[in-house]
Assembly symmetry: C2
Homo-oligomer: 320 residues x 2
């Protein structure tokens, strides 16, 4: 083999990465159908059996707002039975945080939108009000003696369909504010598919500089086809956890035009092909993808791998 010193290899040679499944939350919340709870159990079990060890199972929002996610409590309880699975939930407000604490989830993700317009539309709070809320959540968590992690997720970090440009300085300041308010870790999200590999590198470089390993995750939508290229750019910056949705379902009901998270199966395929271990069995994941087609008939599913199948040369096919 040739020398590994290269003018084009990234400085950071990541060897393992985590693909966090957010299809049950970010995916299902944008679809008009309500998946039955037993089917969600099946999904969680199959994702676990395929090797996924981090799953966002739902959101503690009022059921009248998102009936698709009304069974989050039951999902947490079910998922917590699976050894070694990190079970996360999205939490938009204090009431939700209390429910999350009571549920026994391992992590609660608190979304903050760097775009004022999107923040008001989506959360009915300004970004700074969300930061203040995180302080209260941290106090509640500590008062409860809970070990549940608090992740502050800065969304619309690369721009917003409502507001337009979002300044990198604002994103970084809000990220820092979340950490100061007591978030255990932070993540950055391209909620509406406005990021490109250059802007990803610019922002994540700075964000890593500020937050170090507390910057734990990148969340990309594939709205304009750049999802996996953006993952690659973030990977080059040392990010090693990525949100993804089975079959690329997802979007944001309050961000017109936003559609489709990075597809879990395509992302795992890219990482594994690159020699970056995810712990996920792609054969089992593709079987789950097929099940998603049966569970969500008529819904827009995305991704490319399921159609073409694995290359005959794919590592796990060795010896087949």
């Amino acid at each position: 083999m040739s020398s590994s010193s290269s003018f084009c290899l990234p400085a950071t040679a990541t060897t393992t990465a985590i693909v966090r499944e957010v299809g049950l939350r970010d995916g299902l919340q944008s679809l008009p159908v309500v998946l039955p709870t037993p089917t969600k159990f099946e999904w969680i079990d199959a994702a676990y059996a395929a090797g996924q060890r981090e799953i966002e199972v739902g959101s503690f929002v009022p059921a009248r707002l998102l009936p698709q996610l009304a069974d989050t409590d039951a999902l947490v309880m079910h998922a917590k039975r699976l050894p070694g699975l990190t079970v996360s939930v999205l939490v938009p407000n204090l009431k939700g945080a209390e429910r999350a604490l009571a549920s026994g989830a391992d992590l609660m993700l608190v979304p903050l939108s760097a775009s004022h317009a999107h923040s008001l539309a989506n959360l009915r709070k300004t970004p700074r009000e969300v930061v203040a809320m995180v302080s209260q959540m941290r106090a509640a968590r500590d008062a409860a003696g809970s070990a549940m992690l608090i992740e502050g997720g800065v969304g619309t970090a690369f721009g917003c369909t409502l507001q337009g440009h979002v300044q990198q300085e604002d994103v970084l300041a809000l990220m820092q504010a979340l950490l100061d308010a007591g978030a255990d870790r932070v993540s950055l999200a391209d909620t509406v598919g406005y990021a490109d590999p250059a802007s990803v590198r610019r922002l994540f470089e700075q964000a890593r500089h500020i937050a170090g390993d507390q910057l734990c995750c990148a969340h990309f939508h594939d709205t304009r086809g750049l999802g996996l290229a953006n993952v690659l750019a973030a990977l080059d910056c040392g990010v090693s956890r990525f949100d993804a949705c089975l079959a690329g379902i997802g979007g944001c009901p309050h961000a017109p035009g936003a559609s489709g998270n990075v597809s879990t199966e395509d992302l795992v395929f890219m990482l594994e092909s690159m020699g970056i271990a995810t712990g996920v069995d792609l054969g089992k994941l593709l079987a789950l993808r097929e099940a998603a087609g049966r569970w969500l008939p008529g819904q827009p599913l995305h991704g490319a791998l399921w159609r073409a199948g694995l290359p005959t040369t794919f590592p796990s096919h060795a010896g087949v």
Copy 2:
């Protein structure tokens, strides 16, 4: 703005790139319909009006094999009227090279498949026989006193559906052999969508080391969703010319499962978003993409940008 020195920015900071349209050849050859010649004229004119300056208009193959490309002579003649347009054609054999020389095309692309199995299936020649043929083409070109460039394109460079693994050493040796045989320049193609960003970086780094600027182009298929991530990886290696097909049409009739080149509009969008100038007007390109939908009813079209539209923050939208 922050410092541009970064641990994650690529060493090569490319500021311009060329997107070579190959939809009229690689795209149309895999579709079962024959686009009328006047429609192809319209396509070429519209691509030129949108700013594209390199177009592969067809292939000099027997019309009975690819009736879709039987009008290549007329297309070259038409395209050559457009000032500053580099008109290329694909040429699989000596007879084709003679036709290319007579046509007045600016460049002929001679495909060589690094996979023996694919080479025999696609070209009925071994890779080394193709190299020998390139020597004869070079002699014919020189004897004719023609300025037409000869590009040797090494295909199945990342693996093959028929043969499986393709050794990097073989790809590099064949690339060198093409240059030794008199090709003016060489390119590398992932004919069947087996490449990933890590293998792209490994191969292109070595290829650049050997061929320098004579390595002129990267050709990726989006079969498994990694097309644009692979472009980014090649870009990081200093490659600045990429083949692409309008609406992501394309594939290879002799490589089962291969489908869809990188979509021109998504690729231009990624590059322009990154601040890499392509000279292409995305609004005009998207209008052409729409026309392709009318020209090719019922055919599988791909790409994401056409559905979501440009971000409101996209540079060319400034001031709109």
